[in-house]
């Protein structure tokens, strides 16, 4: 009973119509929970879907960091108060175990979404223990952006080269990024509040650990061994953490409290030389009115480390949204069809290129789609998909939220100088052991093994 239609979005529409008919309904409102930050960019397409099928959406917004708590509370409540939601993949294992997420393999089989067009590695984010749970919808692997106008400013290149011995440009290694950051941090009056900051990343509670994890991966590190013994406190971890801390001194002081809404405008205001962040930075940075630096950016493949004499670059799938269908939904199928619709080639291209979008390109077809190119620039898209080749997942196993929270806490304490990097990571490792034991080592080993294929095999993109 596969659904007819030539494209995934057509099939989604047809599937939805058929579903309605089978239920004897003419219209339907689904409840959707979504991070408030996503609403604006998405409502248009949901309206289109309603026009086509009669299935509309009431969305209720939640702070992005509260999605997890709300979902958990629904897992307890089993109220069916929302049919589906947008959430990040970290929560997937826990929410599946909590019984909240409905596996969608049956529906995928019928609807044939455009899964093969999704960039390798991303699809895995929606899978857990061999089942598919969520449609992937947001290519959140990180990209690096630097200011080409500043590099090209008269005399800068020479001065830089004289000092560091290489032609300034996209950094290949974190060391080079450090040098760029050092060089371009400008505080002529010596006030301690530079006019130009050399680097930007995320260092806030809830976020900062991801940037360390990326660096740790680039060092060739893996968080666990096959028995779930933590490996983070080894040499790689400590060095990565030291570098991570060192780089922070070229960042705005308040970076410890900042996330996207603060970081993007700050960078777009021309206050920093470089930034490592989500691909959607391009929209902010190239905005014709709001950005002071439109057209002055160069997009870079993420830097890496020399490991055993060979360069290893690693980007991180640092957020990445999934469309989850609730187990307690009265109309899981309808919710699925909308998910499929939103993640089809055509519609996703529209979403990704929308003016308010925080959805980032994640399909091969996005690379060639003129609308996407217009919104994000060809250069950025190419780099983005190159990065995708070296993108590693976060620790997507049961208890992920807690593992990460503990890591986050200690990374920040090291950053603040409360703990030495060694100490911080040792404590994290100890805490991880405790979590693993609590959750059951055996189950965790299985989960970890299942995740391993999602790690990239390439060290530098083609």
């Amino acid at each position: 009973q596969a659904v007819s239609g030539t494209t995934a979005d057509e099939r989604a529409i047809n599937g939805a119509k058929a579903y309605l008919k089978s239920k004897g309904l003419t219209s339907l409102k689904l409840n959707m929970m979504m991070p408030s930050i996503f609403t604006a960019g998405s409502t248009g397409e949901m309206a289109n879907f309603e026009k086509e099928t009669g299935i509309g959406v009431n969305y209720f917004e939640v702070g992005i960091l509260q999605i997890q708590a709300k979902a958990m509370s629904e897992a307890v409540a089993k109220s069916g108060s929302f049919d589906f939601w947008i959430g990040d993949p970290i929560s997937l294992p826990d929410l599946v175990e909590a019984g909240l997420v409905r596996p969608i393999d049956d529906l995928v089989a019928r609807g044939k979404p455009d899964l093969d067009d999704v960039v390798a590695g991303f699809v895995e984010q929606g899978r857990y223990k061999g089942k598919t749970y969520g449609m992937f919808g947001d290519g959140d692997n990180w990209i690096m952006v630097i200011r080409k106008d500043l590099i090209n400013a008269p005399g800068e290149k020479q001065k830089f080269k004289a000092k560091y011995g290489w032609e300034p440009g996209c950094p290949d290694t974190y060391e080079q990024w450090y040098q760029l950051a050092e060089f371009f941090t400008r505080d002529p009056k010596g006030t301690g509040v530079p006019e130009l900051y050399g680097a930007m990343g995320y260092r806030a509670r809830g976020w900062g650990w991801r940037w360390w994890l990326q660096q740790f991966y680039a060092k060739g590190g893996m968080p666990f061994d096959d028995n779930m013994k933590p490996l983070i406190a080894g040499k790689e971890g400590v060095e990565a953490l030291k570098d991570y801390i060192a780089l922070t001194k070229f960042m705005p002081k308040d970076i410890l409290g900042w996330a996207t809404p603060q970081a993007y405008p700050f960078y777009a205001g021309g206050n920093a030389f470089s930034i490592m962040t989500y691909p959607s930075i391009a929209i902010a940075a190239e905005h014709p009115e709001k950005s002071k630096i439109a057209g002055k950016n160069r997009y870079c493949v993420v830097p890496g480390y020399m490991v055993n004499g060979k360069l290893v670059r690693r980007s991180l799938q640092g957020f990445g949204n999934l469309l989850y269908v609730s187990n307690y939904s009265k109309h899981p199928e309808a919710a699925y069809w909308l998910s499929q619709y939103l993640t089809s080639k055509e519609v996703s291209a529209r979403l990704v290129s929308g003016p308010n979008s925080v959805w980032d390109p994640y399909m091969k077809s996005h690379l060639t789609d003129p609308r996407v190119i217009k919104a994000r620039t060809k250069e950025m898209l190419e780099i983005h998909l190159k990065n995708a080749q070296v993108t590693a997942p976060m620790i997507l196993i049961q208890g992920a939220v807690e593992y990460n929270d503990v890591l986050d806490q200690h990374v920040q304490e090291a950053l603040l100088g409360k703990l030495t990097p060694e100490d911080a990571l040792n404590r994290t490792a100890a805490a991880w052991e405790k979590i693993t034991n609590q959750l059951g080592r055996k189950a965790q080993i299985d989960g970890w093994k299942a995740l391993k294929p999602a790690f990239p095999t390439k060290n530098v993109p083609d």
Binding site: Q68, V76, D94, E97, R205, G206, G399, E402, D405, Q409
Partner: protein, 345 residues
Amino acid sequence: MGGSERPPYPPGARRAPGDPGRSSIDAQATCRTNPGRSWIDGVLARLERERVFKWLPFVPVQGLFALLLLPNALLLVYLSFLSWRITRGAWWNAPFTGLDSFLGALGDERFLWAVGRTFGFAAVAVPLELLLGFGLALLCREPFRGRRIYTTVFLLPMMIVPAVVGYDLSMLLIDQGPFNQVLSVLAGRPITVRWLSDYTAAKLAVIGADVWQWTALTFLVFVSGLAGLPRDPIRAARVMGANRWQIFWHVELPLLKPVIAIAVVLRSMEALKIFDYPMLLTQGGPGNSTETIAVYLWRMGWEFARVSDAAAMSLILLVVVSVYIFIAIRVLRRERRRLAEEAAP
């Protein structure tokens, strides 16, 4: 005394010897029927009997507590003896693990820190609020020009939603924000304290938020208390030769003790629940430097899904808090009782 000789009773008033006298409770039980009244009056008349009437408001209130709070308390206790996580099926199927969760909680450094930190916040914020509130109330005590305006303004903060306060301060306290600007102007050199992301400064920010908002309440309580101080003992002390300071210290302060007690109890009981400011200002960070009990338990329950552990921690917390409650209530009772005694003659 003198009872040996009782005056003669008027005729008819004498009670039969040996008649024990009917108790009035018996008497009430025989309901008086009053013709000509509708049944509504009848019902009202019944409700009006003191022993019914006085319980009327207790029925809904105790009912509410019994139906709302009691089951929760029981559930909380029950959950704490299980090892249930939201990710482990239904709670009624969760294995019974006795005191494991409690032992775990007591071994959880982060929990102990959160408890200590919360008490620490309260220990700094509450005295500050009391002192500030008291000082301001003293300054606003006697009439002078502009007093009404000051009082009005000082009361504003407590009328603002704490979430708004958190948000508002997060705007003021940013690195290059107005607060640092003002400090820089006052200090005459650039001040760039990271109020929200420095390990210590963030704590100060949370405390500051609490102080900013709730000094309004202590101010109000103290203004109220000062206004109600009896005049004569103070005047007596003046005539006896006491100076302002002596009067304040030896007369006014002791007289205000009950009011101070209630202010301390109210503020500290609210301060121990502190949740909004860290949640909104710092998300418990940086590190865990502003993670209070409420924030940690929130995470424990809703983010880490460890409900039984959270329940055990809650109960431990309750034990700790009930020590405080016990002391607070003793103090309040003593003060009220003393007041009642003083009012008696």
